[in-house]
Amino acid sequence: MENSNTDVIQGTLDMLILKTLSLEPMHGFGIARRVEQISRGVFKVNPGSLLTAVQRLERAGLLNAEWRQTENSRRAKFYSLTGPGKKQLEIDTAEWKRRASAIARLLNAEG
């Protein structure tokens, strides 16, 4: 395991959840695993923060939640993106790119 994993940058957790769910509906652990995998272990997601965040996004109408039966007859909550959720993801992505490129330009200018 890498030692250099980091907590998700403040304020970006919502965007990462939305992005992850834009591919397919997923349950809580699925989201966390996908974020870790794609970031190659750079981002570690705290389970409590993640589950609170999806609940918040669900209440805000950006996600839909649905209970499904798992193979060993347990209940699992699956989340999917809603229309407003998609729109929010576009806004967040555009904003993030704008900022990231600005920061990149600044750092390059220093060099």
Partner: protein, 879 residues
């Protein structure tokens, strides 16, 4: 959309907590299962995978709590659990709860009651549309405000550009003569525009028109709602019907709405048109040239008071030939325009503001006391708070807990306080000084209840704040080892400071009430100029003959007086047009001496024997008697101060003077009599003239009977009334009072303020004594061990006693010091209510300090005594 979702989800959780909790548990469990599965997929054994997942996941319970705490519904749940906890805590300490709730109820109740009285008078606009535009206009002469004359009013109506409407009015007290016993109504004769100026129209029928308000116009009246309901059974067909007033039939043309508040004359129930004669402007000897009308006006929109004053000033300085003016209405100093609101509150403002200030102090003391009690409790609960903090309660959670407790106390106090306010309002109205305007507006209405709610909330937060900060600041380790005494220092510093401030506030209140008490004392030490004992007074109104027959009017009073004199037990009796200290003050006229002096004087028209009956001293010359008839040379008595100003060092007997109109024969001064206080005991140099009825230029319609008797004078009332009614059964008799009572109630405003101050000062004294007691006994309890050590080391009981008392008296001393400074500054606010005593009067200050020190010494004594009885062997063993 999302707001709806928020609400729906939250409500679902609130309604079915168990299902919601199961959802969270399931989701957390599923997360953990999946994480374990992921580790197994990497090749770990199930046990190892579970351990690894647990390591990564952290405590499932913490995650569960974290997820579960999300959502607005949890705040509500938390609030209720805090509230339940607060209720439980209070029920465990009933004595504390009782004392705090009672203290707060007193504070909130008193301030709500005072606010309910002050709000409609000082803060709310009068109950008229755009009430700010309604002005009162006075004729000014020698700095005195005077009623205006009718022709002056007419001149302003024609020439002034500042007003939408101007109106004049005078009191009118018609008698309903058809009944067995005549009933007199308070009413007003008004110009047609009166209700326009106020902006109120009749609810039934119509308003007065210019056609109604004509000389010798139709006899019409408008009724108040209350009179209409009381006498006419709220009959909706009343309009157009006739009622018999003063032996004449009047047609009812309208009824005012029930919400109409006639602030200018609150007791008025009936209105008739003024019907003065505008044609006789060159005839100076008429009521149209008498200063007998009040004037009000509604400013044009956009015109300010200053503009109106300038406009009227310009008119006053530039007479036109169309409106000739006699000397007494020549408007040498112009007019004063002042808002009706200011006019109405002018007399009572100082008293009300003083009382408002006093109640703020009481409220402060109550809050300080409860804060102190909460702090003391906080000290006992340090262990509990430290424990809760150690178990993970955040600082904000602890602060919230303490604030919820104090809010709960305040709310209980507020609810009880409404009851206190209810009683307080009734007491206030009963005590209220005569002339307190808008008395019927003093109720616990919505505004007042909103005020009570606001101060309750504010107090709840205010008294909880310091204890909350103290509680949450507690250092974990220190708090858990409860024996540490060093940390108690912070609490005690705050508590002592609070007690000091409490004593200071109490001192200010005590000084205020002491000064008012001394003022009343020195006022009543002033000789009023007459002998009030064994004198019965009553006002008799000659009502039947309207305006026209002076001789008949004089004859009625003369006959009535004869009948009264014939009664057994009556020593002497007389009529006067003005009765001292009765509230009569409309009889002011100009007096022009032949030698040049020109003064505003009280005009007393008195029958012979008046001065003897009242016991007014004769300094020079003779009194008026039967000689001074209609055809005898006009004679006048002048008061001593008038004589001194006009003829210093000379004999005024034989000098000549015009009183009222100047186109009549001179009055000759035949005597000088003692000064009599007319409006107030505080009055200086009351200038007065006395005339015989037959020699006055008009016959008064209202006279007061003054009657001196041997023995019980009050028992004569029915006999005297019957004697007067034997002359004419239709003459109403009102305001029956002993002269003693009039004298005592003449200072009602000061007295009212003093009673309220004394009540508040008493509360303040008790509360601050309780404050000292609380702090000292708390400190004795905490210092038991130290005291035990001291006495074990040889301190005597006396030493211990002195130790505790010294501590208490130091606080008292500091409070007194600050309080004296505060009182010296704050008594400025009641300076207009003081009389004959400086606001820095050393006797008052010393007496108050002595009282406060004595009371706080008593409060110190009990804890000190307890400390002195501490048995060292027991306390030391207890360690």
């Amino acid at each position: 959309m999302s707001l709806w979702r928020q609400l729906a989800r939250g409500l679902r959780v609130l309604i079915n907590r168990t299902a919601a909790d199961r959802d969270v548990t399931d989701e957390v469990q599923h997360y953990l299962d999946e994480a374990t599965k992921a580790f197994i997929a990497r090749g770990l054994s199930p046990e190892e995978a579970l351990r690894a997942a647990r390591m990564q996941f952290g405590s499932p319970l913490v995650v569960y709590e974290q997820v579960r705490a999300y959502g607005w519904e949890n705040r509500i749940g938390m609030f209720f659990s805090d509230l339940r906890y607060a209720v439980r805590r209070l029920r465990k300490t009933p004595a504390f709860a009782f004392v705090s709730v009672l203290t707060l109820a007193l504070g909130i109740g008193a301030s709500t009651a005072i606010f309910s009285a002050v709000n409609p008078i000082l803060f709310q606009p009068l109950p008229y549309p755009e009430a700010r535009r309604i002005m009162m206009i006075w004729d000014i002469s020698q700095g005195l405000r005077m009623d205006v004359t009718f022709h002056t009013y007419r001149e302003l109506v024609v020439r002034s550009r500042s007003f939408d409407a101007l109106a004049v009015m005078r009191p009118w007290q018609p008698t309903l003569t058809s009944e067995a016993e005549p009933e007199r109504f308070e009413g007003q004769s008004v110009s047609a525009s009166y209700f326009d100026v106020l902006g109120v129209q009749p609810a039934l029928g119509r308003d007065f028109t210019e056609t109604d308000d004509q000389f010798r116009g139709p006899r019409v009246v408008i009724l108040s709602d209350s009179l209409w309901r009381r006498r006419f059974g709220a009959d909706s067909t009343i309009v157009g019907r006739e009622v018999k007033l003063e032996d004449n039939l009047y047609t009812v043309i309208g009824v005012m709405p029930s919400r109409f508040e006639n602030t200018l004359t609150p007791s008025a129930e009936i209105w008739s048109p003024l019907q003065y004669n505008p044609q006789n402007i060159t005839d100076l000897n008429t009521r149209e040239w008498g200063h007998n009308l009040r004037m009000v006006g509604r400013l044009r929109p956009g015109i300010g008071v200053n503009q109106a004053n300038q406009d009227l000033g310009l008119i006053a300085r530039n007479p036109v030939t169309e409106f000739p003016r006699p000397p007494w209405a020549s408007l040498p100093s112009g007019f004063v325009v002042n808002s009706l609101q200011n006019e109405i509150t002018r007399g009572v403002k100082p008293a009300l503001l003083a009382v408002l200030g006093a109640v703020v102090l009481v409220l402060l003391i109550a809050c300080v006391n409860v804060t102190n009690l909460l702090l003391a409790r906080g000290a006992q609960r340090r262990g509990e708070f430290s424990m809760r903090a150690a178990l993970g309660a955040g600082r904000s959670r602890l602060i919230r807990q303490v604030l919820i407790e104090s809010l709960l106390l305040a709310t209980l106090g507020g609810v009880l306080g409404i009851g206190v306010a209810e009683a307080g309002v009734r007491t206030l109205v009963a005590l209220s000084p005569s002339g307190l305007p808008r008395l019927n507006a003093i109720t616990l209405d919505q505004t007042v209840l909103a005020f009570a709610f606001a101060i309750t909330t504010f107090i709840g937060l205010a008294v909880g704040l310091i204890p909350a900060l103290h509680a949450s600041r507690s250092d974990l380790a220190d708090g858990i080892q409860r024996n540490s005494r060093r940390t108690a220092g912070g609490y005690h510093g705050t508590r002592r400071a609070l007690v000091v401030s409490e004593i200071a506030f109490a001192l200010v209140l005590l000084v205020g009430s002491g000064l008012l008490f001394r003022s009343l004392q020195s006022l009543f030490a002033i000789p009023p100029g007459f002998d009030a004992s064994h004198v019965l007074t009553m006002q008799v109104q000659e009502s039947r003959r309207r305006f026209d027959n002076d001789t008949a009017r004089r004859q009625f009073f003369a006959q009535a007086l004869d009948e009264v004199r014939r009664l057994p037990g009556v020593a002497s009796a007389a009529f006067t047009s003005l009765l001292p200290l009765s509230g009569d003050q409309s009889g002011v006229y100009g007096a022009q001496f032949e030698t040049g002096g020109n003064f505003q004087v009280f005009r007393y028209v008195v029958t012979p024997e008046y001065l003897e009956t009242m016991g007014i001293a004769l300094h020079r010359g003779r009194l008026l008697d039967a000689r001074d008839g209609e055809f005898a040379p006009p004679a006048v008595l002048i008061s001593e101060s008038l004589a001194k100003i006009t003829f210093p060092g000379q004999d005024p007997i034989g000098q000549r003077v015009h009183v009222g109109p100047a186109n009549r024969p001179w009055y000759i001064v035949v005597g000088v009599v003692g000064d009599v206080k007319q409006t107030s005991l505080a009055e200086v140099q009351p200038k007065a003239v006395y005339l015989a009825p037959a020699q006055s230029w008009f016959a008064d319609t209202t006279m007061s009977l003054a009657l001196r008797a041997h023995g019980d004078v009050a028992s004569l009332v029915p006999a005297v009334k019957n004697a007067i009614w034997s002359v004419d059964k239709d003459q109403p008799i009102i305001r029956v009072a002993l002269m003693d009572t009039l004298l005592a109630t003449s200072e009602s405003q000061r007295r009212f303020t003093m009673i309220v101050f004394e009540a508040f000062a008493l509360v303040a004294l008790v509360l601050s004594a309780a404050g000292i007691y609380g702090v000292l006994s708390g400190s004795v309890t905490e210092r038991t061990r130290e005291i035990g050590v001291r006495s074990a080391l040889g301190a005597s009981r006396g030493n211990i006693l002195a130790l505790v008392i010294r501590q208490g008296m130091t606080l008292t001393g500091l409070g007194v010091l600050i309080g004296v400074t505060g009182a010296a500054a704050m008594t400025q606010a009641i300076v207009t209510l003081l009389f004959g005593v400086s606001r820095l009067d050393p006797i008052t200050y010393l007496a108050v300090i002595a009282l406060l020190v004595a009371v706080s010494a008593m409060a110190c004594w009990m804890p000190a005594w307890r400390a002195a009885r501490v048995d060292p062997s027991i306390t030391l063993r207890a360690e």
